[in-house]
């Protein structure tokens, strides 16, 4: 494979935006139906009350909350990773960044839905907004849920910006190639981008600042999500490592999600030329590192609890190690640790397919981890008289499924309106250095299967 001309590259990457196959419509329709079902179910739940879920006394949180943490976790793929890669200026990042950032935006939106879904009276959720009310009341700033509210909104806002900024030149590109309403739309989006050196300079510096700012934000967000649990005197929740533990888990699951998405995009939009084995391999390495870190945290958490040996914590602990929740626990260990290890280390096994398989495992495993953090602790809280257990009911499961459909749908639509790979950054890459091409050749020499 040799260097392509700008125009062919542009055409390649813009094709999805301009060409719309029937397959696309079918997929979109199917996904939309599932999402609609999700909303219908939510309405059903609002109408009758939370009783339609499996929540009970004393396990008042279940699947909805698990999904909340899970999706917020997924959201840590994009922005954080791309920010880091931008700062260390890893050139191979160029085709990856936008795929990643989009995941962040949408995963956050979906994740942020679940706190609403789990409310007993969601129509009053606006009481979390601090505004001078006639009741002379403010939100309770001591509540981690209020921290969540602010943290997530901040993160959402900044990652949307982070997504929008580098898209400006591409908007301009589309603007120049279209007429009619789309010309108008993309004209507005591109904020009068002319590609003057001054604009380029501003964009670059803006991106740098954002990249620097976004990393602490991202880390704080999932730390605060972890506070939802670690701030309560509940066995296995009241732990000091929850902050980093959650952040690592988040990035872990984030990368996994990114791998899967990239593979799908690659297949569906025929971007084999741009999303290459090297990207999967590098992300795989990163994921492997996270897997190790995560494993360390889990071991740490369990060991400390076991050594501390306080009765209620032990009850919760054993329920996950050997008790009723142990099957889930060991599945999690397998998916997050045992499965990725060979697939990502052994050279022979390494491949896109392998990475994707490992990633799927990790996503499942991380979802289980969220569940295992929430439910067993609540089951074994307080006096043994009041212990309980939890089983989800259909509305929770439907909404759970719908959230994945929503993710896919949003992603699909996005890739329809905006090139999923940052065209100008690719071009910059083309011009500035030959590294990418070099790496590509080397990877082909290594006989990577595509």
């Amino acid at each position: 494979m040799t260097r392509k001309s700008d125009s062919s590259l542009t055409d390649d990457l813009l094709r999805p935006v301009f060409e719309t196959s029937t397959k696309f419509y079918v997929t979109a329709a199917v996904l939309a139906v599932i999402v609609a079902a999700g909303f219908g179910t939510w309405f059903y739940q609002i109408y009758w009350g939370m009783g339609v879920t499996g929540d009970n006394w004393p396990v008042f949180w279940g699947l909805h909350e698990t999904n909340f943490v899970f999706w917020i976790g997924i959201s840590h793929a994009g922005t954080l990773i791309s920010a880091i890669l931008r700062i260390v200026n890893a050139t191979w990042r160029r085709p990856v960044t936008r795929c990643a950032e989009v995941i962040t935006a949408f995963a956050l939106m979906i994740g942020a839905m679940f706190p609403l879904v789990h409310l007993g009276r969601p129509w009053l959720a606006w009481w979390l907004i601090p505004y001078p009310s006639e009741r002379l009341l403010w939100p309770n700033y001591r509540s981690p849920l209020v921290w969540d509210f602010f943290a997530i909104n901040t993160y959402l806002l900044s990652s949307l910006l982070f997504l929008a900024l580098p898209a400006i030149p591409d908007f301009a590109l589309i603007r120049d190639r279209t007429t009619g309403w789309r010309n108008w739309l993309y004209g507005k989006l591109s904020l009068g981008w002319q590609g003057t050196p001054r604009q380029w300079h501003r964009l670059e510096s803006a991106m740098h600042m954002m990249a620097l700012a976004i990393i602490p934000i991202a880390i704080s967000v999932h730390t605060i999500v972890s506070f939802d649990f670690s701030m309560a005197v509940v066995p296995m929740w009241h732990s000091t490592i929850f902050g980093p533990y959650f952040v690592v888990g988040a990035i872990f699951s984030g990368i996994a999600a990114l791998n899967i998405v990239m593979a799908i995009v690659r297949r569906m939009l025929h971007l084999e030329k741009y999303l290459q084995p090297i990207h999967f391999r590098n992300l795989g390495k990163l994921m492997l590192a996270m897997s190790l870190l995560w494993g360390y945290f889990v071991f740490n958490e369990r060991l400390v609890t076991w050594y501390g040996n306080t009765p209620h914590e032990m009850a919760a602990l054993w329920s996950t190690q050997l008790g009723r929740y142990s099957p889930m626990f060991w599945t999690m260990i397998f998916c997050n640790f045992i499965l990725p290890f060979p697939l990502l280390t052994i050279r022979k096994l390494r491949s896109i397919t392998a990475t994707v398989i490992a990633s799927c495992g990790v996503v499942i495993g991380m979802w289980l981890e969220r569940f295992l953090i929430i439910v067993p602790s609540l089951s074994y809280k307080g006096t043994s008289y009041s212990w309980g257990t939890y089983l989800p009911r259909w509305p929770e499961i439907v909404i759970f499924g719908a959230s994945f459909a929503a993710m896919a749908l949003l992603y699909l639509l996005f890739s329809k309106f905006i090139p999923i790979i940052s065209i100008w950054e690719m071009k910059v890459g083309e011009h500035s250095n030959i590294k990418v091409a070099a790496q590509v050749q080397e990877s082909e020499a290594a006989g990577e299967l595509v």
Binding site: W126, R324, S379, S384, S386, W387, G388, T389
Partner: protein, 726 residues
């Protein structure tokens, strides 16, 4: 639109626009003019008497106005009236002392029960199949009159029968006078789980055919033989109050409490020492203790009479270690005043009389009879009603003769079809009766057989009175006016009875001169204690009480009963387990299973709600491969029932126990078709002297069956983790 509403709109999304179009909730219903002076929102307290069990607690009813749906001159509408909102103990009342048990407080749901009979009914279809049709009171009374007059015309007055739950006070008097003056046999009290045996034993030992009153508060040592005296037996409320005092009421003196029984009851759960014994040998243990006491010269007594009750021998029979027997005996003698209580299971064996007398002997030895901290008997003013005739005799006669000897049965709040062993074949017996009229407020297994239903007021809507049998050191006669006006088209049974008695072809004016039950009560109370405003004070305070006569106990030489071996139905190999049905803490013998609060009240030991269960010892269950919630079939020689297993460390391995109360076929939406009824499989064993049902004398076997478990436990700790539930 201000900021607040703007935000709301934002929160609500466009949906609201489409939704606002939907219908208007307020619908107008006509309101009648109130029939009483009542101020909105102000609570007033009115005295009343709890009718649910034999204790007879005086209570206060909190009445606050509200709008009830009623029918006035044919029109349905709302009326503002004083409504009972809460029941509490009457602090002035010597029995309740301001307290009320869980059952008593749930009694309010009797009045407001959605399945109460709200107007007279006439059978309309096959008897027992259910369908009834609404009729007016005039029609109802006419039918009743024609039946009773019909009997009189045929000269067969003695073919009229009256069956009630155990009743006291003027209601009992009224009914018996009615029957007597009409020329019918005296009314029958249905109470298979009552304490006839103990009453008779007390007559033998102390000359009082009555349940004893225990001064637990002053006592220093209480040993109870199977009596659930803090839960469901005798005067539980005052006994609990006394228990509290015994424990912590006297600084420096914490009384000891020992419970002797084969299955740990709620009362047993509070004991300092819980002594399991072989079923039916409680009396033996008592005499064993007596032997030790006399032997050690701690009390004077005739050792010869106790010769066969040496500790060694007793240990062999009861399964209690010799040392323990000796220790208990010593403690009992050394810590006076001491009380020995017997009740419940031990009396429900064929040798119940022996056990009762044995424990009475122990009490006589202790020397605390009639003393503070001991046992006394309540004087019962105005108790002139003759004792009822035996229900069993009535049933057997019914079944014996081809032609029913009883032509008309009047039924009041007794449910023998549910409450007696199927072996008694009560349903067949009653079905033979040509005419049955029920005064009850609910359709249950018995009243569904009625041809005519004349629904009674609830106790809150009617004049109530009672003469408690035990629970206070002084004489008590309770009386109270209605706490609220009736919400349904019902009439008070006593008033109906008086009305009928006057409208009979041969009116009973002379023996029953009163127009209303109120007048009758007034007369009786002024006869009890004459005085200008006795009556007004009585209805203001909820009764009269005070020292009338001595709670005298004939001081006796201890009499030593002859031992009689308990007999059991079903031989040991085929039926390895003793079957102990016990009065449920919520439902007693099942008469309260229709109250939702009690259905959802977690049983304190099992934490079970809305279900019945069978208690099996943990080890026994392991042996049979049973785990918590497994459904088992319990079969006796008389039949089989199914119930989920509840593992319990507090029961002898050779015993299984089951609460009464569930397993109703027809008893309102809350109780019907729920759980199983242990009474149904009981063998018709009887205590020979009194003929009382020996309900603990049945042996059974259990086997696991494949059925969905309906065991609902409140304690998640037991629901989900039966092994961690300690």
């Amino acid at each position: 639109m201000d900021r607040r509403n703007f935000l709301k709109v934002g929160a609500l999304t466009g949906a609201s626009a489409t939704l606002t179009s939907c219908g208007n909730p307020e619908h107008q219903m006509i309101r009648f003019i109130p029939e009483e002076e009542i101020q909105g929102g102000i609570a007033i307290w009115k005295p009343s008497v709890c009718p649910l069990c034999a204790t007879g607690c005086g209570m206060l009813v909190r009445v606050v106005d509200g709008e009830a749906e009623v029918i006035r001159n044919g029109k349905k509408g709302l009326i503002q009236m004083g409504l009972a909102r809460k029941l509490e103990g009457n602090p002035a009342h010597p029995i309740s002392q301001g307290k009320l048990c869980a059952r008593g407080q749930a009694a309010i749901q009797v009045t407001y029960h959605p399945d109460r009979i709200i107007h007279p009914l006439k059978r309309n279809g096959v008897r027992g199949s259910g369908p009834f049709q609404e009729i007016t009171w005039d029609e109802a009374i006419t039918i009743l009159l024609s039946q009773i007059d019909g009997l009189a015309a045929a000269g067969s007055q003695n073919a009229l029968a009256f069956l009630t739950k155990p009743m006291r006070g003027q209601r009992q008097t009224l009914i018996s006078r009615f029957m007597q003056s009409y020329g019918a046999p005296p009314p029958m009290n249905f109470d298979p789980f009552g304490d006839q045996v103990l009453r008779r034993a007390n007559a033998h030992s102390f000359g009082h055919e009555q349940l004893p009153t225990f001064d637990i508060a002053q006592s220093r040592y209480v040993i109870s033989f199977g009596a659930d005296f803090l839960g469901s037996w005798n005067a539980a409320v005052p006994q609990s109050a006394g228990y509290g005092e015994m424990r912590q009421g006297k600084p420096g003196h914490r009384g000891k409490f020992v419970q002797v029984e084969a299955r740990m009851s709620q009362t047993g759960a509070n004991a300092d020492e819980w002594v399991p014994v072989n079923p039916g040998t409680e009396g033996v243990l008592a005499l064993g203790m007596a032997h030790v006491i006399v032997n050690l010269k701690l009390r004077p007594g005739n050792l010869a009479a106790l010769a066969e009750y040496t500790p060694a021998e007793v240990a062999k029979r009861t399964g209690v270690k010799t040392e323990r027997i000796e220790r208990l005996a010593r403690e009992f003698a050394e810590n006076s005043p001491a009380i020995a209580i017997i009740g419940g299971t031990p009396l429900a064996h064929t040798n119940g009389m022996f056990s009762a007398l044995a424990v009475n002997t122990l009490n006589t030895l202790s020397g605390s009879m009639g003393k503070p901290g001991g046992i006394s008997f309540m004087p019962q003013p105005g108790k002139d009603a003759p004792p009822g005739t035996s229900f069993n005799k009535f049933v057997t006669e019914q079944l014996a003769s081809p032609e029913s000897p009883v032509k008309a049965l009047l039924l009041h709040e007794a449910n023998p079809v549910y409450g007696s062993p199927s072996a008694w074949r009560v349903r067949e017996a009653l079905s033979k009766i040509p005419f049955i009229a029920s005064f009850g407020s609910f359709i249950d297994e018995t009243s569904i057989l009625a041809d005519l239903v004349l629904p009674d007021h609830s106790f809150l809507e009617s004049w109530v009175d009672d003469v408690p049998e035990s629970g206070a050191g002084i004489a008590v006669a309770s009386v109270a006016p209605p706490a609220m006006r009736p919400i349904h088209q019902t009439r008070a049974m006593p008033d109906v009875l008086l009305d009928v008695s006057h409208r009979l072809a041969k009116p009973l004016q002379q023996p029953l001169p009163w127009k209303t039950y109120e007048e009758m009560l007034k007369d009786s109370f002024e006869s009890i204690s004459p005085g200008a405003d006795t009556w007004n004070n009585a209805i203001a305070n909820g009764g009269v009480w005070g020292k009338t006569g001595e709670p005298g106990v004939r001081p006796l030489v201890p009499l030593f009963p002859r031992y009689s071996e308990p007999e059991f139905d079903g031989e040991g190999v085929q039926f390895p387990f003793h079957f102990l049905p016990y009065k449920s803490q919520s439902f007693l013998d099942g008469s309260l299973a229709h109250l939702p609060w009690l259905q959802e009240l977690p049983d304190v030991l099992s934490t079970a709600m809305w279900s019945s269960w069978v208690e099996v010892h943990t080890e026994t269950a392991r042996g049979l491969g049973l785990v918590q919630g497994d459904v088992v079939e319990i079969s006796s020689t008389q039949g089989k029932i199914q119930a989920p297993v509840l593992l319990s460390p507090g029961i002898a391995p050779n015993v299984i126990a089951m609460p009464m109360g569930q397993g109703h076929e027809t008893f309102t939406r809350f109780a019907s078709g729920r759980g199983a009824n242990p009474i149904s499989i009981l063998a018709p064993m009887a205590e020979p002297e009194t003929g009382a049902l020996a309900w603990a004398a049945t042996r059974v076997r259990i086997s696991k069956v494949d059925a969905a478990s309906k065991l609902i436990l409140f304690a998640g700790g037991m629901r989900e983790h039966p092994d961690d539930h300690r």
